[in-house]
């Protein structure tokens, strides 16, 4: 393709994507913005305007607590993914080449199954009369039945499990690309194992770490399925609460305001991420996705 002819009008190639995002992202987002400033006046009746009442309602301590709990849970989930993901990605990134594809595929395959099914599977596993409980009791590690299901710990386990692949891939990409001769050089020049990791490996794979954290943290803040199924209805996280505004209260404007506030907070985080990483973010996100 060097004749220049084929690359003359590459802009047309982006039209389908533009059309798609305009139709299915920008227009719905426009609705959310419009609704967020509207007021509910009856069943499915709203008066559009520029009311800030919905956002003022969000300043109530109840909703601020939901923000705090949601971000706390997403942070804990992200750290959990990182703690499991980094060593594993490191191990995977240093495997002989022919095994890698198979191992990666083994990680991806469960990811293709519906999140709903996988989360219900966890509900069965963690149940008081489930297999995990039985095993732990037989090993005399716990006295009674396992009391894990319907707690925020169960939500955390479900989140870590469901989002682990999103953490693994960017980590794997950055670790695999790591120039191993730099690590060897550091060791040859007398740095210990841990200091080599802290001063060479970690800084060089940091884009992967940040990308992985972003890709897990952001969707975790809006997660609906996991807290609904594993939390026993007791964990008031953002996703289910937004859902209840639409379904139970039929208060679309307030639900839209909640959703919009989260979008804004997350956009700020993404902008910060891009600032910190600059062009490396592009390479990392592209490779990971």
């Amino acid at each position: 393709m060097r004749d220049g002819h084929a690359v003359a009008e590459p802009r047309a190639l982006i039209l389908p994507a533009w059309g798609y995002y305009a139709t299915f992202l920008l227009i719905p987002l426009g609705f959310i913005v419009a609704y967020a400033f509207a007021r509910t006046t009856g069943f499915f009746e709203v008066t559009f305007g520029l009311s800030g009442a919905n956002f003022r309602r969000l300043w109530d301590p109840i909703y601020l607590k939901i923000y705090k709990d949601t971000f706390g849970m997403a942070l804990a989930g992200t750290l959990g993914c990182l703690a499991i993901g980094y060593p594993f990605a490191y191990w995977l990134g240093t495997r002989p080449h022919r095994h890698k594809t198979l191992l990666l595929l083994l990680i991806v395959v469960p990811f293709w199954t519906s999140i709903l099914i996988r989360t219900y599977a966890w509900a069965l596993l963690l149940a008081g009369d489930g297999p995990l409980s039985g095993l732990l009791q037989r090993l005399h590690l716990i006295g009674g039945q396992l009391a894990l299901l319907n707690t925020s710990k169960a939500v955390w386990i479900g989140l870590v499990y469901d989002y682990l692949p999103l953490m693994l891939f960017p980590l794997y990409v950055s670790i695999e690309r790591l120039d191993r001769s730099l690590v060897e050089a550091a060791r040859d020049l007398g740095l210990g194992r841990w200091r080599t990791f802290a001063r060479v490996t970690l800084p060089l794979t940091l884009p992967g770490v940040l990308t992985g954290c972003l890709l897990t943290f952001v969707p975790m803040t809006g997660e609906y399925v996991v807290p609904s199924i594993l939390g026993g209805g007791k964990s008031a996280l953002f996703g289910p609460i937004v859902g209840s505004q639409f379904l139970n209260a039929i208060d679309y404007p307030f639900g839209a305001a909640m959703a919009l506030s989260l979008v804004v907070v997350l956009l700020v985080m993404i902008v910060l991420y891009l600032r910190v990483l600059g062009r490396r973010a592009e390479a990392n996100l592209g490779a990971a996705l």
Binding site: F43, G128, D129, G233, K234, A236, L247, D251
Partner: protein, 394 residues
């Protein structure tokens, strides 16, 4: 059923072969094919327009089924029902299919909220739905229901007048009673030595049975119970009363194992929990020794109804079905399957005495007198949902 979530499958509770059958039914349920949906969207309104001026309605294969009740228009050959799971006796459905030589499909929803959201979102192709009273009001006010032609439902006269002309649908313009039930407290008698008779006891005993309690994941019922305990109306719109009731719930939150409308039967069956706020018919799937009580302070009474969505593709057959199901025989068949009381009094003698004699299903009149029905009001929904958010995030 209040702002109910699930009245769905009993699939996990031991009930022998019939359970298995229902699971199979559930798995094999036929979703609307794209073609049907298209036909529903395009042909439906056209067919309705035709119905106004022609006697022959329906698709190319107009049914030759008998037309009882002197229906002037020919019946369609298909009926698409959108219902709660396990909420229509398969025996009745098969009998209706056979009698009218039609095909019926059934899709399921898990809550009134889901039904409302789907219809509001433009779901097409359904002929019959089974919303609870307050949901009928919301759907009717939103223009999502077809007015019923009472001339095609003569059996409406079989219904006990106390279930007709309800506040949520004056004159039964949009709905016909399906069955009714109550919200109350169920508990396992092997584990709970006290005789629970009131909301007060329910709240007082929570610390003693900490971790063995569940409440419905539905704010009107649960906050309504606390309101009743405090001597207020189930439908109170007073912020101070709602706050007081919510605080009662927050106080026992550490003792609550789960806030669930769909799992409590299984949890009681496995003896993981002992005490639950739930709907009367649901406790019949718990095979461990248990008791269901309507607390003495009063509680909620709900009425579920048959209704026809706006733009239903087969409205004639839907009317015919409502009329057909309202006969005492078919009502009795329903009650023996759903364990919910029929609004047709003549059905009661035909029901198995074990069911009809049970005060949990047919409570005595003095108990019924103390029951209230949930109202449909935007402010009510908002106040309940706010209180619920407060309770959940506490």
């Amino acid at each position: 059923m209040g702002a109910g979530i699930a009245r769905e499958g009993r699939s996990f509770v031991t009930d022998g072969k019939s359970d298995y059958d229902r699971m199979i039914d559930h798995m094999l349920r036929k979703p609307l094919s794209r073609r049907n949906v298209l036909r529903a969207a395009w042909v439906g309104p056209a067919a309705m327009a035709l119905a106004a001026c022609s006697k022959k309605v329906g698709g190319s294969a107009a049914s030759t089924a008998p037309t009882s009740g002197g229906s002037p228009a020919a019946l369609e050959d298909q009926l698409n029902i959108y219902n709660w799971a396990a909420y229509l006796n398969p025996k009745n459905l098969k009998a209706f299919e056979k009698e009218y030589s039609i095909t019926a499909t059934q899709d399921f929803y898990a809550s009134n909220e889901e039904l409302i959201a789907k219809l509001k979102g433009g779901a097409q192709g359904y002929d019959l739905i089974a919303p609870t009273g307050y949901a009928v009001e919301i759907l009717a006010k939103t223009g999502l229901l077809t007015p019923l032609d009472h001339a095609k439902i003569p059996n409406l006269t079989n219904v006990d007048p106390q279930f007709l002309d309800a506040g949520f649908d004056p004159g039964n313009q949009y709905s016909a009673p399906k069955d009714w039930g109550t919200t109350g407290v169920g508990y396992l008698t092997d584990h709970v030595s006290e005789d629970i008779t009131s909301w007060q006891q329910f709240f007082d005993l929570a610390p003693q049975y900490s971790g063995k309690y569940t409440v419905l994941d539905s704010s009107p019922e649960v906050i309504g119970g606390a309101l009743k305990m405090l001597g207020y109306s189930y439908n109170s719109l007073e912020q101070s009363q709602i706050d007081e009731a919510t605080q009662q719930l927050i106080d026992i939150k550490p003792d609550i194992a789960a806030i669930t409308s769909s799992e409590y039967r299984q949890m009681m069956q496995r003896e993981e929990t002992y005490v639950a706020i739930g709907w009367n018919g649901d406790f019949f799937y718990v095979k461990k020794p248990h008791k269901y009580v309507i607390p003495s302070e009063g509680s909620e009474f709900w009425l579920d109804n048959w209704a026809i969505p706006a733009g239903a593709p087969h409205p004639e057959l839907a009317h015919e079905f409502i009329n057909w199901i309202l006969t005492p025989e078919h009502q009795a068949t329903e009650t023996s399957y759903t364990y919910y009381a029929s609004a047709v009094p003549e059905a009661k003698p035909l029901v198995d005495p074990a069911i009809s004699g049970d005060p949990a299903i047919y409570p005595p009149p003095d108990v019924v007198a103390k029951l209230e029905t949930a109202i449909a009001d935007p402010l009510f929904l908002q106040l309940r949902n706010d209180a619920w958010t407060k309770f959940k995030s506490a």
